[in-house]
Amino acid sequence: MLQWIVILFFFTLAIGVIAPIGGVGGGVLFVPLATAFFPFNVDFIRGAGLIMALTSSLSSAPLFIERGLANIRIVIPIALVSIVTSICGSLVGLWLTNNFPEGDSYFSICLGILLIFIFIVMLSSKGIEFPYERHIDPFTAKFGLGGEWFEPSLDRTVTYRAANLPYALLSFAAVGFIAGMFGLGAGWANVPVFNLVMGMPIRVAAATSMVLITVNDAAASWVYIARGAVLPLICVPSVLGISIGARIGARTAVRAKPLIIKYLVMAILLFAALIDIFKGIRGIGLL
């Protein structure tokens, strides 16, 4: 037993160190790599992935909110939709792996395809630090979505308004489903939607994404807890490892070269995608 606890601890510690510097959450590395290389069933990996993503976002979200970078008023209407789809995603994910003889293998293939999509998103999306002010449609205007924070680099308070809520809600519905189904935080998808669709500054988008992850993943985690897919034997060393790793990562981030780490993370994602697809195809007997 000790061997697996130690391996899990150091594995998640390493993820905790490199993931934040590379601009992704821990879950997006943990779930595919653990699916590819660890003996656990994907049900337990997704359960642990959700708890890890939840813990990481809970640890950083309060600070972002207090600094004014995230506004709960913006999260509420979005979470109304994404919480429902994240629960649906969890139910579908567990149904798939528990009701089909080769459900694990189909899941593995889907995960690999999703990772290739994430790789492309990371490769192509360039965050806009301060997007141009967009036209606020009547629907979005009713919600009065906006905020302000003091930006030290500009030495002034920056105000912003969010736009395009209808399109964003559709996007976040899909993101919530993926988060619940695959046990991910899905910050890689939240941030571009907040930034590029809703026109929120990149720092605000990243901070608001953290708050949204807490709500989505907490709701989805209840599905996994109720079905017994959250095992303390896997979760305790994983959460401990990623929590310590994230603190080391935050300290080393000052000296690290983020672009190199980002490319390293992307290479790991692509590698994990290929392994997961190969494992899935072999599992359904096509190889």
Binding site: I72, A141, G144, R161, W222, I225
Partner: protein
């Protein structure tokens, strides 16, 4: 800036502080009892039996470990003196933290956002309690 709500700061601070306190409490419970559990002290489920079966889908896993599928929360709530179940209570608190933080701002928010907040809380409560029905 017609959409801006200048009075959002107190709401956000209440939400953030509640979230912070609950997160720390959840993490402390998880780590203290989790480490005791990993040390092998008073466990509800045999770790070697878990390891022999953790490659199975969750329904088959619990059939092998407990003799029946895990339904609702009895698989850990019925062993609350065991360290693994106590570690689970830390995870439960972490999973309840956003709900508790949302409840903490109910009295501070008004109008359309209050209605949306209440619907969100109902949705969250549904996610917690649906397995019981």
């Amino acid at each position: 800036m017609g959409g801006l709500k200048k009075g959002d700061a107190p709401i956000n601070i209440t939400f953030a502080r509640t979230m912070n306190v609950c997160t720390w409490a959840g993490l402390i419970i998880l780590f203290v009892f989790g480490i005791l559990y990993l040390s092998g002290i008073n466990t509800a489920y045999d770790a070697s039996l878990i390891m022999r079966n953790w490659d199975k889908p969750v329904s088959q896993f619990w059939l092998s470990v407990k003799g029946r599928e895990a339904q609702r929360y009895a698989w850990f709530l019925s062993h609350l003196r065991a360290m693994d179940s106590l570690a689970m209570s830390g995870i439960v608190l972490l999973s309840l933290t956003p709900l508790i933080a949302l409840l903490s701002i109910v009295g501070r928010i008004k109008g359309l956002h209050l209605i949306l907040l209440l619907i969100l809380i109902v949705e969250f409560l549904f996610s917690v309690f649906w397995p019981l029905f």
